[in-house]
Symmetry: C2
DNA sequence: TCAGCTATGTAACACGTGTTAGTTGCCTGC
DNA sequence: GCAGGCAACTAACACGTGTTACATAGCTGA
């Protein structure tokens, strides 16, 4: 009978005792067959089978010093994250590499509203750090832990690999597109509320996109002050509500620039319900180019960012760092303007 | 200087040595402040700070016997899983509970094509087992490990909690709906290829849905043999291709029953490209009722299954089991037919 | 003044594993 | 017949933590 008090799980000591051998022999029987005679090996395996023994995962990990798992440090709660198609797609890219290299994927949301506090509770070989709007010590904490990590959509940080996207250029391109079509009454549907973060000097993707829009506006002698700014948290419904409100003014915009595709979908929903033709009366643009945007009616004009590639590259960099192979590469991925059917000259 | 050979990370022994105290004192300084004098506590914390010490996650987990993490045992690779909106939504439900209870979420894909082999490599307090088409010993393995688990979309298994959906009833409802409208030339767009699994006696959700369709057919004197069956792996594009092929015959169907919403989207894409009106000429139905289906044009007639609730309930059951609170509840969630604009009487 | 209690710190144990160094016995070869 | 080598196995270490049982000193109260 396994001696372990009441917790059930038999340990290698139990097997050793029952088989009349040492604990080492048990380990060899499982991991190093040729290091032990075939006869006793069979006996040990038999006893193990009878007792229902399985090597403990944590014990093995502690000894091996590796978990075969990579963590994704998320800025939002799991429910909000998985609700967002952007993250689903990003994680898909990460997952491709995990599949290939045999890693599991640990999703780590903030613990009690704190990303920092979540770090000690994740048993992983390395972290992919997502959308760190303001660095409140997470990077320092990871550094001192000596655990490899990669920054995504954050500020560039010497001492760690990073993958970013040319958000500024992409936003500039789409704004330019609308301006060249002749639009002057523009509205920006931003992901928010994060204006405070921007005001406080954060340089997340959001701030960069706004900067890109400002760039394009400046080229025609306009400024952000000439643009109407609305904010919606994240979902399609949020975009719907925000767009409805945008159209209530006495001089509604002729073009709505949404800072994510999902918000753009919602905006189109609102316009259709108001019987406003897209793009005949109002043009709408997105950002991301999710797969659905090509199927959406009207087919959405948007900025393509290589989300899956971003995830894949992040995982590649991380695994290289875990293996101690690479230094600290910084990659900035390009964007491209995808002109489809949701934009046209103003009426 | 920390003595540890070259691996970097200082351990509590290093801190103890540097502070001239025992290792226990270091532990107390961090976890049990009142067990030690304020003066030495400050000193220890100071030394720890200087050395850059952080308690090791694995060591702590091993001692505590808990990981604060729950695992999701997936039947497919991560890339395929996260590509599927159904799973994204299911994981969202699981995530809601994780957020609430402070758990992290470990996604565990098959290792070398084997779900079984993946189990020993996941450091979790319990598993949510998804879509176990055929039980090849996974349940036995989890049982012998003595780790709590919950079965989702599988056969009911005494000895473990489970959450299922009335797939059969849902499929029967939607088939009945089409038959009552007058359709007789039906096509089923199944998720596959898994016909072999069904033939081998597996009772996954897919088989149950097919059984439900057979039920409805029987009510009007028809059988599955009278229905055209096509299979598509999983994505919208897959559905598109399969539907195009379905329509090539000399007597194309007047209604397409897709076994998932995503496939239904693809089917509508194909019909639109062929200039076939939906629902005027051909009706299309889905299964799942994803959020997008209400926005889709034409608004999709489908079977709603409570995906998020399923995930939430699975996580609830699991956490109860981890805490040793509950027995082995079995829950079967209901479905409801959502009639929208993608179905009509045949021409 | 001394028994007894509290505050403080430590040694030892427990969690469960893999691996290295070392012991024993048997067989081979000269 | 015995040195040397090999096979089989074990003791001890390492991974890093939290916690329990014990020792010591100082203080309080009768």
């Amino acid at each position: 009978m396994p001696s372990r008090r009441a917790s059930g799980k038999p340990t290698s000591s139990d097997v050793a005792a029952a088989a009349g051998v040492s604990r080492s022999a048990v380990s060899f029987a499982f991991n190093n067959p040729q290091r032990i005679s075939a006869a006793t090996r069979e006996r040990i395996l038999g006893v193990a089978e009878r007792l229902g023994y399985t090597p403990d995962t944590l014990g093995r990990m502690l000894q091996a010093g590796t978990t075969n798992s990579i963590g994704v440090l998320l800025p939002q709660r799991l429910a909000r994250t998985l609700e967002n198609p952007y993250y689903a797609r990003f994680l898909m890219g990460v997952g491709q590499v995990c599949d290939q290299e045999g890693y599991t994927l640990l999703l780590t949301p903030p613990l009690r509203e704190s990303v920092l506090k979540a770090i000690p509770y994740a048993a992983v070989d390395g972290f992919i750090v997502c959308g760190l709007e303001t660095d409140r010590g997470e990077v320092a904490e990871l550094d001192r832990r000596g655990i490899p990590f990669v920054l995504i959509d954050s500020d560039r940080h010497e001492g760690a690999p990073s993958v970013e996207v040319d958000d500024r250029g992409g936003a500039r391109d789409v704004a330019r597109h609308l301006l060249e079509l002749g639009h002057r009454r523009l509205a920006v549907l931003s992901i928010g509320p994060e204006r405070e973060a921007v005001a406080h000097g954060s340089y997340g993707p959001l701030a960069r996109r706004l900067a890109g829009i400002a760039d394009a506006l400046a080229e025609v002698g306009m400024a952000m002050a000439d643009v109407r700014l609305a904010e919606a948290p994240v979902t399609r419904s949020d975009g719907y509500r925000a767009a409805r409100e945008l159209m209530t003014g006495d001089t509604p915009p002729t073009a709505i620039m949404a800072l994510s595709d999902v918000l753009a979908y919602g905006a189109v929903d609102a316009l259709q319900e108001l019987a406003i033709d897209v793009p005949g009366e109002v043009s709408v643009t997105g950002f991301d180019d999710l797969a659905e945007s090509a199927w959406f009616r009207p087919r959405l004009t948007t900025v393509r960012q290589p989300i899956v590639t971003k995830g894949r590259m992040a995982a590649d960099f991380l695994i290289s760092a875990i293996r101690g192979e690479a230094q600290h590469p910084h990659q900035t991925l390009g964007t491209s303007l995808i002109v489809r059917d949701s934009t046209a000259k103003p009426a």
